[in-house]
Assembly symmetry: C2
């Protein structure tokens, strides 16, 4: 991912920010499918070759932008215990990812991603959020499943169904996944 | 999916078969990324407009071809009991889907798929195979999990990790998923 090569505050970071901003603005103005590299370059005030050099093509640029949009901006809220916190997180995760915007970002993140780095980053965001919830619970003395188990039992089914099997995706489904993975652990 | 509109043996089916064959041949000859609609049309002996009319664009055509390649050509093999059959199926499923060819087909199936029909078909193939294994077990009097539970607990984690989190995907992982979902059921 180009983002990982970027030094915060450096010229490279400023170029990336202006290009990402141009993509977000133009996508809302003319629609994502009407975007072209020259259009984005003009809005961002860079040359098209700058974009091709860093991102390779439009799809990789859209993939980078999508990963940025999928990054959680807050830690999971505290609702009381591990079950309540994880349930609330899973309901919100399903709600956001299954939304039209969420589905579009997931597709973009997967598609322009030859090295798989962007998809891995999306997965790391979810694992980090779950890790925060489980660490809190451990600090309260709860027995918790490990992060990878929650990824397999809660995140994977939600993401798999969004991509491959979208029927019946609702908050009750998210709650049942959390209840099931906590059934064998918990306080 | 265009395939669903095709009457077996009809002209439409013959065109589809020749176009799919042309894609598979040319992909192995010049590589998937070098394919163009005119190239495929010439090899298949149809006009490019025939392809555009039915598939819309190359990406949707590649998506249809990918789904055909992902269709299982045999029923899951019988190894003795539900645990052995489901374990063998899951190991083979992971092996095939995680291979470079499998990953490319999954990508293509997801990519050129505006209506989600092709991804749904891939998921239906897996559900059908699992259904066969579980039905056999039920006929032997075993208590079995339902198909959707196996989709959530075995297929979803495998596919999620292939797409988003590819580290540590091996036969042992597939076996552990099956052992875990059967731990609460079985004879």
């Amino acid at each position: 991912m180009s983002r990982q090569m970027v030094r915060p505050g450096g010229r490279s970071a400023r170029v990336q920010e202006s290009v990402h901003t141009a993509v977000r603005e133009l996508a809302s103005e003319v629609g994502r499918d009407a975007l072209t590299v020259p259009m984005v370059a003009q809005r961002a005030g860079v040359t098209p070759s700058t974009i091709y050099r860093r991102w390779g093509d439009l799809q990789e640029l859209l993939s980078d932008v999508a990963v940025e949009r999928l990054r959680p901006d807050t830690a999971p809220r505290v609702h009381g215990d591990m079950s309540a916190d994880l349930t609330a997180w899973a309901e919100q995760f399903l709600d956001e990812m299954a939304s039209p915007a969420g589905r579009a970002y997931i597709r973009d993140a997967l598609l322009g991603d030859p090295d798989g780095g962007n998809a891995g980053q999306c997965s790391a965001y979810a694992a980090d959020q779950i890790g925060l919830v489980l660490t809190r619970a451990t600090e309260h003395g709860d027995e918790t499943p490990d992060v990878e188990t929650v990824m397999d039992r809660v995140v994977a089914p939600i993401m798999y169904r969004i991509l491959f099997r979208p029927e019946g995706l609702d908050a009750a489904y998210a709650r049942s996944l959390v209840a099931d993975v906590l059934a064998r652990t918990g306080p």
